[in-house]
């Protein structure tokens, strides 16, 4: 599709000279993985390369894989092509991948956000000629409030619920968002976790990330044993019998999509906290500027308007099609997470 160091194939981004793919979606021989989310780290590749920080979760999710770790900033040669991984600020362990050959530099952003969240390795801009950027929230509608303000909002909600004897159930993605929330909130009460969240949390905590103590929800753990608790669960657990055990509870969802009232109302949620691990509109624009790149490829999001915007700004801009050829503007619903595991009977 394009000539140069990286090309776009039906398996994903490919480096012909290096013989490796980046975040491929079909099985390949050699895969460089930006981070552990399931649409980036898929099963079935011959060899995996990811940051040391990202590997434990990837191994947990993919099982027995042939994987190698790399430090942030460390350069490795693959068939004469230099590759290195740089913090993307998206989730703990996430990376942008820099690829260089004979002075030509490309950077694949993976998913990223520019605001430091106090947990993920903060985003570091990397100079390059060509930047492949995500644009999940690539419209000026999306502008995030600073994390301190969001933390205060969520804390106020938790406190008000606790004061009224209600459990707070906060839905968030299990890798990244969940741990970010635990870390950014003041210690107002016990934090209980759904099994799918707890596994990842434990792995990250064992790696040394400063995540507060959490209790996995199992038989006997409910509103009585843990009054005023904050429950962190995957979005799929909201409104289920699983969530019913907490009796009177207030449910909320923490996601960048909560910026859109229509989506929030469609999910039947009164409360939504607009908090995202992706860059907002100003963040995307700032990140792109800082790369110094003259050529930008947009992927993963509102690619069509974002490309047009970049062209208006004087960039040479293109689109990398994702697996289904459609853009995510069509499906802003959160990706489904695995359903809650069956709990042992009372």
């Amino acid at each position: 599709m394009t000539t140069g160091l990286l090309t776009f194939t039906d398996r994903g981004i490919f480096c012909p000279e290096g013989g490796f793919h980046i975040d491929p979606w079909r099985p390949v021989d050699r895969a460089l993985i930006t981070h552990g989310h399931s649409d980036h780290a898929r099963w079935g590749h011959g060899r995996y390369l990811a940051t040391h920080a990202a590997l434990p979760v990837i191994r947990h999710r993919l099982g027995d894989i042939a994987a190698e770790g790399i430090a942030y900033g460390e350069t490795r040669q693959i068939n004469g092509v230099s590759v290195s991984f740089h913090p993307a600020g998206h989730v703990p362990g996430s990376a942008q991948i820099r690829v260089e050959r004979r002075g030509e530099v490309w950077v694949v952003s993976g998913d990223y956000k520019v605001e430091a969240d106090g947990l993920s390795e903060p985003f570091a801009p990397v100079r390059c000629h060509t930047f492949i950027t995500e644009c999940t929230f690539g419209l000026p509608l999306f502008r995030w409030a600073p994390q301190t303000r969001l933390a205060a909002q969520i804390a106020a909600w938790w406190q008000a619920n606790a004061d009224e004897g209600r459990t707070s159930i906060l839905a968030a993605y299990g890798l990244g968002k969940a741990q970010r929330l635990m870390t950014m909130l003041p210690p107002l009460g016990p934090i209980l976790t759904h099994g799918a969240v707890e596994d990842t949390t434990r792995i990250l905590r064992d790696q040394g990330y400063p995540i507060p103590a959490t209790t996995r929800i199992s038989a006997g753990i409910d509103a009585k044993s843990h009054p005023g608790a904050l429950v962190i669960a995957p979005p799929s657990a909201l409104g289920t019998p699983w969530a019913g055990r907490f009796g009177p509870a207030s449910e909320a969802f923490a996601s960048g999509w909560m910026a859109l009232r229509g989506i929030r109302r469609r999910r039947g949620l009164g409360t939504g906290f607009v908090i995202s691990d992706h860059a907002d509109w100003p963040g995307l624009n700032a990140a792109i500027r800082e790369t110094g790149a003259s050529r930008i490829f947009a992927t993963h999001g509102y690619t069509t308007p974002f490309r047009r915007w970049l062209e208006d700004q004087g960039y040479d801009a293109g689109i990398v099609q994702t697996e289904f050829g459609g853009d995510e503007a069509d499906t802003p619903e959160p990706r489904p997470e695995p359903l809650p595991e069956p709990e042992p009977g009372p």
Partner: protein, 540 residues
């Protein structure tokens, strides 16, 4: 605006009626008095005229946000709500000093008809002075599409709680033609408040009957009458006053000059509930004929002759100045017929005939409703009072099953509001030889889960984009139900449907199985139907 925004957020944050009522009651207790009046006005559909049109708003907002218009439009397509789009695109206000709701609305009213430059200056200055929540609401007031997820009944209950006035009395007071700019909260809510001889009563509303009527008990406890396809109207004849109100609380007296003679003949203090129809002499004409008159302030002579209006009366709410609503229907109906019988012949007012018999006989008559130009039967409990609004249990609409055809989806468009970002508005086609002819749009009848599934499908099966509209692979088949059909030279297919909606997604059918446009044309020719099988009843 701050207090109003707090109210809005509280209402928006819950789907529980009790919490909404409590939030409203709290507001009616502590908001500034003039703001309360405007809130009552807004929640009862009394919005100020639009001072600014949507095109102007888009341009001003795009410039204020410093983005090109196309990017504004693309953002709007994603947010699905103009007020929200603008609120989110504008830079955050440095320090917001929101004016009161009263001041905001008075300024907006004063703005109507001013030169564009002045309107623009006012709107952009207000944007700059408002925080994000207030800005969203200000835009809602500007664009006129203001809904707060609160029914008028709910608001009335909250007001009743706060003032101690009974809800039905409060509902009556809020009806009719009052102007929030010249009405005080006291006048609106206190006894002996704003007087209105022309003020209508809240309409009683029916619920759809989903079970068989046997479940309602003995047939002799129930009055059955035709469910007409016209405009619900309330005729008020009081000393010195004659008024006709529509269910939407529009005063429509002047639209129907043929009713004027009634004021000389109805006894003073008479209020009648009935259906306004276009009259063919002995039976109603199709709704399409009445529709030609709706929306016209003055009716040309030709239309008066072609589609004369007539009232089929079915209830009496006030008799000799006495509020009769608490009397049983049997008594009200007897009085109604006595009044109508005493009128001279030739007036455009007659009783809506009753449909006698046991449930079996009525079911048989109901199946012939379309030949009577009716949509089915109404069933009303003879012992029931005249309720304000919808009270389940005493009034039922027992409609005929709709007509139905199987059609294929050819275009999809994202919805608005709660359906933003979800493909919910579809265009359907039928076969015409080897061609597909688009013949109707529909956007209701499916579950959220089905819409979400179709949205994913549209993403993968788009053939062409026209702005927000996608042409899709003609593959998904739906059963389209509708209540009526008429010729329409404005449509390519030559027909227009009444109340089209999706009855179900026919996953079992492919595009080869859809119906032909000829079948609809035949139905149109026959007019009374019968060519197409009606949809099978639910639950089979």
């Amino acid at each position: 605006m701050k207090r109003f925004a707090t109210l809005f957020n509280a209402l928006d944050a819950t789907t529980r009626t009790g919490e909404k009522t409590a939030a409203l009651a709290a507001y009616f207790r502590d908001a500034p008095h003039p703001d309360r009046v405007w809130t009552v006005a807004l929640l009862s559909g009394r919005r100020p005229k639009r001072a600014v049109n949507a095109t102007e708003l888009r341009q001003w907002a795009a410039e204020a946000a410093g983005i090109p218009l196309w990017l504004f439009e693309d953002s709007y397509a994603v947010a699905g709500d103009l007020a929200e789009t603008i609120a989110r695109l504008l830079p955050e206000a440095a320090n917001s000093q929101p004016p009161s709701l009263d001041a905001t609305l008075r300024a907006l009213i004063a703005l109507t008809g001013r030169p564009p430059a002045e309107r623009r200056a006012h709107v952009t200055a207000t944007w700059a002075a408002l925080g994000a929540d207030e800005r969203f609401l200000f835009n809602k007031l500007l664009t006129g599409g203001f809904r707060m997820g609160v029914s008028q009944g709910l608001m009335t209950r909250a007001l009743a709680q706060v003032t101690g006035v009974e809800a039905s009395v409060m509902a009556h007071r809020l009806m009719g033609d009052w102007d929030p700019a010249h009405t005080s909260f006291a006048a609106l809510t206190e006894e002996g408040g704003s007087d209105g001889a022309a003020r209508p009563y809240p309409f009683a509303l029916a619920s759809p009957l989903e079970a068989l009527p046997d479940s309602l008990g003995p047939p002799e406890d129930w009055l059955a009458e035709w469910k007409w396809d016209g405009i619900r109207g309330q005729i008020i004849a009081r000393a010195g006053t004659f008024a006709v109100w529509s269910r939407g609380e529009d005063l429509i007296t002047d639209r129907f000059p043929e009713f004027a003679p009634l004021q000389d003949h109805l006894p003073p203090g008479t209020v009648i509930d009935g259906e306004i129809v276009a009259w063919g002499g002995t039976a109603p004409l199709p709704f399409a004929d009445l529709q030609k008159r709706i929306g016209r302030k003055t009716v040309p002579k030709r239309l008066l002759a072609e589609a004369p209006a007539h009232i089929l009366a079915y209830d009496l709410l006030e008799d000799a100045g006495q509020d009769l609503r608490d009397a049983p229907l049997s008594q009200r109906r007897a009085r109604l017929e006595a009044i109508l019988a005493a009128l001279p012949p030739g007036l455009p007012l007659s009783p809506s005939p009753m449909v006698p018999g046991n449930w079996v006989a009525r079911a048989a008559l109901r199946s012939g409703a379309r030949a009577q130009m009716a949509e089915g039967l109404m069933l009303k409990r003879l012992s029931s009072p005249y309720h304000a609004g919808r009270k389940r249990g005493d009034w039922w609409k027992w409609k005929l099953d709709p007509y139905a055809v199987d059609a294929v989806m050819v275009y999809a468009q994202a919805g608005h509001g709660r359906r933003a970002n979800l493909y919910t508005d579809f265009t359907f086609a039928l076969r015409d030889g080897t061609d597909l002819v688009p013949f109707t749009k529909a956007y209701s009848g499916l579950t959220d889960a089905e819409f979400a599934e179709i949205t994913r499908w549209v993403g993968k099966n788009t053939q062409e984009r026209f702005g927000p509209v996608r042409r899709v692979v003609p593959e998904l088949v739906f059963e389209i139900g509708f209540e009526g059909i008429q010729a329409s030279p404005r449509h390519k297919s030559g027909i227009a449907l009444r109340f089209p909606r999706m009855l179900r997604w026919r996953r079992d059918k492919g595009v080869a199985d859809i119906d032909t446009i000829e079948a609809l044309r035949a139905l149109l020719r026959s007019k009374t139907g019968g060519c197409l099988p009606p949809a099978p009843p639910e639950g089979i």
